[in-house]
Amino acid sequence: MAKSKNTLKLKFDSARNLDPAPESAAIAKIADRYELFINGKFEKPSSKKYFDTINPATEEKLSSIALANKADVDKAVVAARNAYDKVWKKLPAKERAKYIFRISRIIQEKARELAVIETLDGGKPIKESRDFDIPAAANHFFYNAGWADKLEYAFPNRNPKPLGVAGQIIPWNFPLLMAAWKIAPALATGNTVVLKPAENTSLTALKLAEIFQEADLPPGVVNIITGAGNTGAELVNHPGINKIAFTGSTEVGKIIQKSIAGTNKKATLELGGKAANIIFEDAPIDQAVEGIINGIFFNQGHVCCAGSRLFVQESVYKLVLQKLKDRIETLIVGNPMDKNTDIGAINSKQQLDVINNYLKIGQQEGSEIFQSSCALPKKGFYCKPTIFTNVAQSHRIAQEEIFGPVLAIQTFRTIDEAIEKANNTAFGLSAGVWTDKGSKIFNMTSKLRAGVIWANTYNKFDPTSPFGGYKESGFGREGGLHGLGGYVEV
């Protein structure tokens, strides 16, 4: 059995003392004020109100964003309906596809600017927005564009028809990517869209609106209305929409599911998670440790499928824990615009408060806290990467979604115990399994009740790969062939 004293001690100070490597913000053209994107034009809100969007890394104001009220939502839905009836429905599928291809290409052309804005507005490390969010968003449009004229192959023995107008509400953790996940399949299947981005992170969605104009997308095919929860509620409850696609918390998802009861609106819900990441003694331990780190600290842990519950087999617990602590010490926390930064800013003050509250709860419940010894910037919203040990199944930090860089570690002895503990949650979005034994992987992956299972890897995404949850993590899939199903009548 491996012993922890064999661990090679890493020199932490050298990793911390890298010279600054900041990405330039000069490429980002951010207007002082953004209006609502309705019927192909930017329009002033009838609310006459605007709200600030700030950079969570510096707390500086970036821009003012229009607040859409009921009348604005109505205008957007009417525009989407008109575009559906008069233009989009009648357009041959292969021509529809060309617009979506165009959008993908322009996103690629403007990738650098979009990445910088995404990081400024949301606080995520530039290396993530540059290497993941923006390319993945472009790829989602490209992938779905190709489906537009091939839908009859996706639904054997059926003639799939679009639903009409889709109302889409997206979260603040992957702003442009979530917009792509929602808009691309909706357009490819022939629907029109009213999209509401999260109020903290509207900028890249509004840049996307400019891209729609540049791509000459017919007016009204996609409308983007900005605002907070009230705007979202107006959209959900608008009688003119045929479909709601929502990504966000389970709490809000349930409210949406209830509020569309008795209507003919269809829904796709991609909700919260509390994923188990399970490490067996025969796992490739170093790779597993990287997988644990990536699983919980990717995007500051603002990930619905984050591997926030770690289950380690008892025989390797000490070793894994030591390696984890060592690795956490090497993580670079700070300025998201620095290309070396691993963990950027928490998306908002509000979310930082939520996370800090869970840090308190975890300790009150009797768990042991370990945090990186790194220093945090004076301004902005930051949280040290954190792990909890001595965690019980009943603890709130093991049951509730924290949505931050906080890992709850538990141990197990047998496979059955691992499965039982992993499945003992109301959620079922994702899970991770680490072992070098193939038959054990398939045993685990078939028994874990979750929609996405990563074996010997974690937090991988692809436009061809369906994503979505079991149980209270929502229903419907996004991505791949299965992602088309939420936007058609068969």
Binding site: N139, P156, N157, R158, T250, G253, K254, I255, Q257, K258, I260, A261, G262, L269, L271, A426, I441, T445, S446, A450, G451, V452, I453, W454, A455, N456, T457, K460, D462, T464, S465, P466, F467, G468, Y470, K471, E472, S473, G474, F475, R477, G480, L481, H482, V490
Partner: protein, 295 residues
């Protein structure tokens, strides 16, 4: 003429492979077309539903991991048993007001539909699954898994074919279920439970209750350990109630508003797919594209 007195049947409910009476001790009368009492049927309670749900949850692990081929054989066995008891079902449907020819058609179609879904048990997976060509060096596939426990409110009309049409795709896909039989025409449902019970179907996979829709619908839809609800009437209030209750634990719902269960369109693998989850699995591939050996 014989003076033999007929033995009358007690119509009980079906939970966990057994035929208990309702724990509530209540019954309601079912009358034949002449207005005579044909049977006293159990008026099931919330507690009966909860017992049935526990039975269904307990049976789910075993049923969902049965070989698909084996599930197909069991569905076929149900059809065989039904074929052998055709006459009894025809009589019961006639007690509920069907004409003889109608009743015969319905029973025969029910048998054929079971065989239809028997065949699908080990085939729908290949129709709806996929291997996904991801850009990174991973092997990635999406396969179907059953949702879990499904509560089914059987159609009021066409009591036998309606029940079979909803039940068969649900269990063919590896789910377990609790079914509320047609309130006004429950007799064939209870007799069908006897068919199930002699078909190698494990106890608890299908549980059948009789009683009032208005009383049981809230429980069928608000139970926190039910994964999906299936409803086939076109009643806006009932649908709204189910949808609202479903939101308590993000239940999946399927509505088949007044579908003609005697028609060909009332059977397809899409009915199975309605009660399936899609699970996507990733695994790295070592050195993809970089290897010099192989081709």
């Amino acid at each position: 003429m014989s003076t033999r007195i007929n033995v009358l049947k007690t119509y009980k409910i079906y939970i966990n492979g057994q035929f208990p009476r309702t724990e509530s001790g209540r019954t309601y009368e079912i009358k034949n077309p002449k207005g005579e009492v044909a049977a006293n049927v159990c008026l099931s309670s919330r507690k009966d539903f909860r017992d049935a749900e526990v039975a269904a949850r307990t049976a789910f692990g075993g049923w969902s991991t049965r070989a698909a081929f084996n599930r197909g054989q069991i569905l076929y066995r149900i059809a065989e048993m039904l074929e052998g008891r055709k006459l009894q079902f025809v009589e019961e449907l006639m007690l509920h007001g069907s004409k003889k020819l109608q009743a015969e058609n319905e029973v025969e179609l029910a048998i054929d539909r079971l065989i239809y879904y028997s065949g699908w048990c080990d085939k729908y997976q290949q129709i709806f699954s996929s291997v996904n060509p991801v850009a990174s060096s991973h092997f990635n596939f999406s396969a179907l898994e059953p949702m879990g426990v499904v509560s089914i409110i059987a159609p009021q009309q066409n009591a036998l074919i309606g029940l079979v049409s909803l039940m068969a795709p649900v269990i063919a896909g590896g789910n377990t279920c609790v079914i509320l039989a047609s309130e006004t025409k429950p007799l064939s449902a209870v007799t069908f439970a006897e068919v199930l019970n002699s078909s190698d179907l494990p106890g608890g996979v299908v549980n059948i209750l009789t009683g009032k829709v208005s009383e049981l619908l809230p429980h069928f839809s608000n139970h926190m350990d039910v994964n999906a609800v299936c409803f086939a009437e076109d009643n806006a209030n009932d649908i709204k109630l189910i949808q609202e209750n479903a939101a308590l634990n993000v239940k999946r719902t399927a509505f088949y508003k007044n579908k003609n269960w005697m028609s060909e369109e009332a059977q397809s693998p899409y009915f199975i797919n309605d009660f399936q989850e899609v699970k996507t699995t990733w695994h790295p591939i070592e050195n993809i594209g970089g290897s010099k050996s192989g081709y």
